[in-house]
């Protein structure tokens, strides 16, 4: 049926001598939501940051194995990181809009990549804010500072900012952990809609959230990928004992 956007083979990640991810093998299906779950420190965020090579900035971090995006290894020596990160966008745990206007936040990415025309930019900004379901709230205050928005609005702004460079994949690192329940519900709703256009990979602490919004779930524990499968099946009949223990709340 669907094809795989990412195909990860034998991925190992070290922070210095700390073996943080061990022989990870998994597939991320295209245009769907994949949730990465597991207790704190299990390596799920580290794994997520392998997919757009944000780990490159961490001193002492090294990666072996293959991470294929549409069939080509992004850890190849010839990989253009700028192009990769344009295709694979990211939304962070804490909302992190730039200290500039709402408009400039969304236009930041397109401007980086050479869009200068005012009308084009205005269209991109409106379209992106519509996608992130923020347009109606900010259409009249586009030129006021982004940091004056509420936390939930800021996070949706960050989604709009990521969407504005027309990525194929959106990586989300616990995007609702700093938000209240109402704002969380809105983001979850949004993620469900995003999957029609983008491949979404979301790290979450919250198992109910994974169950509500994802199509596929991968369970991480102590740097290993324990189990991977359709979300429905993972939460009703897990194959691995450890998965069952985790989702029934016996630890984590």
């Amino acid at each position: 049926m669907e094809k795989d956007k990412f195909s990860v083979r034998d991925l190992d990640l070290f922070y210095g001598s700390n073996h943080a991810l061990k022989k990870i093998n998994l597939q991320v299906p295209e245009r769907s939501v994949t949730a990465l779950i597991g207790p704190s420190g299990c390596g799920k965020s580290s794994f997520l940051r392998c997919l757009n090579r944000m780990n490159d900035f961490i001193p002492g971090c090294s990666v072996t194995g293959r991470v294929e995006l549409d069939g080509s290894d992004i850890y190849d020596a010839g990989t253009d990181l700028i192009h990769l990160r344009r295709r694979v966008g990211m939304v962070f745990q804490r909302p992190n809009p730039f200290p500039m206007s709402i408009f400039d936040n969304v236009a930041y990415g397109p401007r980086l990549h050479g869009d200068r025309d005012r009308n084009t930019l205005r269209d991109i900004v409106e379209e992106s804010l519509r996608v992130s379901a923020l347009w109606n709230e900010v259409r009249d205050i586009l030129h006021s500072p982004a940091l004056a928005l509420s936390g939930g609005q800021q996070q949706r702004l960050c989604i709009a900012r990521a969407v504005a460079v027309q990525p194929e994949v959106l990586l989300m690192d616990e995007p609702t952990s700093a938000l209240d329940p109402m704002a969380t519900a809105r983001i979850e709703e949004l993620v469900r809609e995003l999957r029609t256009r983008y491949t979404v990979v979301i790290v979450t602490h919250n198992m109910q959230q994974a169950a509500r919004i994802s199509d596929t779930t991968d369970f991480f524990l102590s740097g290993e990928m324990v189990e991977s499968g359709p979300t429905q099946q993972m939460f009703t009949s897990p194959r691995d004992k450890r998965t069952e223990d985790y989702i029934t709340g016996r630890f984590g």
């Binding site: 700028i82 962070f92 500039m100 940091l147």
Partner: protein, 287 residues
Amino acid sequence: MSSFRKKKDRAATIMLWLVMALTCGMLALILAFLISKGWSALSWEFLTKKPRSMMTAGGISTPIVGTLQLVLVAMGFSFPVGVFTAVYLVEYARDDWFTRSLRLAVRSLAGVPSVVFGLFGLSFFVILLKFGPSLLSAGLTLGCLALPVIVGASESALLAVPRDYRDASYALGATQWQTIRKVVLPAAFPSIITGAILSVGRVAGETAPIIFTGAAFFAPRFAKSIFDQVMALPYHVLILATAGTNIEKTRPIQYGTVLVLLFFVLGMTLTGVLWRARLRIRQRAQR
């Protein structure tokens, strides 16, 4: 027991208040002294006319303009160099012994007495580079003096920019330079400006670095070229106080000059604070 603790608490409060009052009192005393001595000299003529009759009469427009010119040259040199040095140290340099000793060197530079900068300026700018005693030599010497302050302020400003901003920028496919130019520097700018303006205050008030490098005892007109010598407010004060020909007549001029210098520095500091506040508001806004 508890009443003893309360008494100690009360004593600490009173002591801190007294120390604060002492500090403010000293400042008020200095200011009152200067105003009482120099206020009578201040007038529109004093600010806009050149000195005449062997500097015993007339105004101080030449040293005012000279000091402005010196500050301009000094900042024109040290602001960009200082900011980019800080950008290198914070964003590019690896954290190794070389960077650390570089940082230590910059920091020690801030503690070097200003007369040493004067001698350096004399042998380097005036003699070696053949700029002669001039606005350029003196301005660059003052710039060297301001450099460590600007580097230090810019470094702390850059370090205070949250990691989050950089991550967000890189994740959108920005290069390192794009990230620095479009996100990091603008976010750090208000604090950088404050540091720079504080160093302007220091630059404007220094005498030792400019005596050998380009400050004139007396100049009949404003400097028209960067190779002319200039009069400067602090040096003018020094001359009037030590080499005046007619103490009775020059004393009010001397204190008037001090007041002008003081207001200039105060004005700069105030501008810096207001400018920063304005930039902050534009970035953050009130909720």
